[in-house]
Amino acid sequence: MTIRLIAAYLLMGTGAAFAVVTVLGLLRFPDVYTRMHAAAVVLTMSAVLVTMGTAIYVWDFFLSAKIILIGIFFLFSNPMATHAIARASYKREIALPREYEIDAYSDYLGRDV
């Protein structure tokens, strides 16, 4: 029982650590796309780890199954949402990268940025 609680706290603590990493990235990274890359960490890793930890913490079959379903939903939806936001903000030229040598997606779109 105590091993189960330790595992749950370990998973939740790892998720919280990833959230701290996200905050650092949001503060330190230079432009929109790298910040989005940092924000995807809390959306995917942190949320999934915290739901896994909660599922181990409650340890009741139906309750844990529901929490794990929520985690799977995060795992599917959040990377997709990050992808959609980044792609839209690039294609609509809301924020364009200016300081990069190689911009492969711009070449793919046939755009000379």
Partner: protein, 252 residues
């Protein structure tokens, strides 16, 4: 020629007088009925003694619904919920009247392939979750309005991710109108069934009660929930569909 011009204003004024008298009588009758029903209400007895305490104590016994909020919304206060869904119907009608110019709007190509595939996997589960929230309104938190909003989200996802032409092909505005009308008619039909079988409008139907906690229990509450859910979902989908015209012309 002169006689009609003499008598016409007299008849008209008489008609007006009769109309005014009739309106006054009807208004006085309505006021009396409202006063009589208002006088039946118990006075304020403090927070721990009044109506809230009664509902908490005997709500489950009266309605058979484990979720007391649903018991209040669709049994004690069902007439008010009927008014709320009528408000949504009025909002849908007004927005469609003002904004709708043509039936098929300019469609976008939708979002990228990744988003389309992912939502193709996820959308059936979203629909299942909406139906679950609607049908288990008397057992778990949720109910018709919440489940209906989740069902409306599916239509919004179709419009944004796959383009509004896809949404039009799958669920045309005619289908949505039929769903909304069907939901409202379910609600009203259950109310009229309450008059016929129990003696009061929207009274909980006694023959539908079953063991508390099962899916088909709590009288007419689950069916009202399902009707309200489809009505709200279709109404919000219609509002969104008439608002997106000429908005998503370019693809992202």
């Amino acid at each position: 020629m002169e006689i009609p011009t003499e008598t016409q204003p007299e008849v008209e004024s008489l008609n007006k007088l009769m109309k005014k008298t009739l309106v006054s009588v009807v208004l006085a009758g309505v006021a009396l009925a409202l006063y009589r029903s208002f006088a039946l209400m118990p006075g304020y007895q403090g927070l721990n003694l009044g109506l809230s305490n009664y509902i908490i104590e005997s709500g489950l016994k009266d309605t058979g619904s484990l979720n007391l909020i649903t018991a209040v919304l669709y049994d004690y206060r069902a007439f008010d919920s009927l008014g709320e869904s009528t408000v949504i119907f009025g909002a849908v009608s007004g927005i469609v009247l003002i904004l709708s110019r043509k039936m098929l709007p300019v469609s976008s190509k939708g979002l990228s392939f990744i988003v389309k595939r992912t939502l193709g996997i996820m959308t059936p589960f979203i629909a299942l979750f909406g139906l679950y929230i609607m049908s288990h309104g008397h057992l778990t938190p949720g109910g018709g309005f919440q489940g209906g909003v989740i069902l409306a989200a599916i239509s919004i996802i179709f419009s944004i991710v796959y383009g509004s032409a896809f949404d039009y092909r799958r669920y045309s505005p005619q289908t949505k109108t039929a769903l909304e009308t069907g939901g409202a008619l379910t609600f009203l039909g259950l109310g009229l069934a309450g008059i016929l079988m129990e003696g009061a409008f929207l009274q909980n139907l006694g023959f539908l009660t079953a063991e508390t906690g099962t899916l088909i229990s709590a009288g007419s509450i689950p069916y009202i929930n399902i009707g309200v859910g489809f009505k709200v979902g279709a109404g919000l989908a219609i509002i969104f569909y008439s608002m997106i015209q000429k908005t998503f012309e370019e693809d992202f």
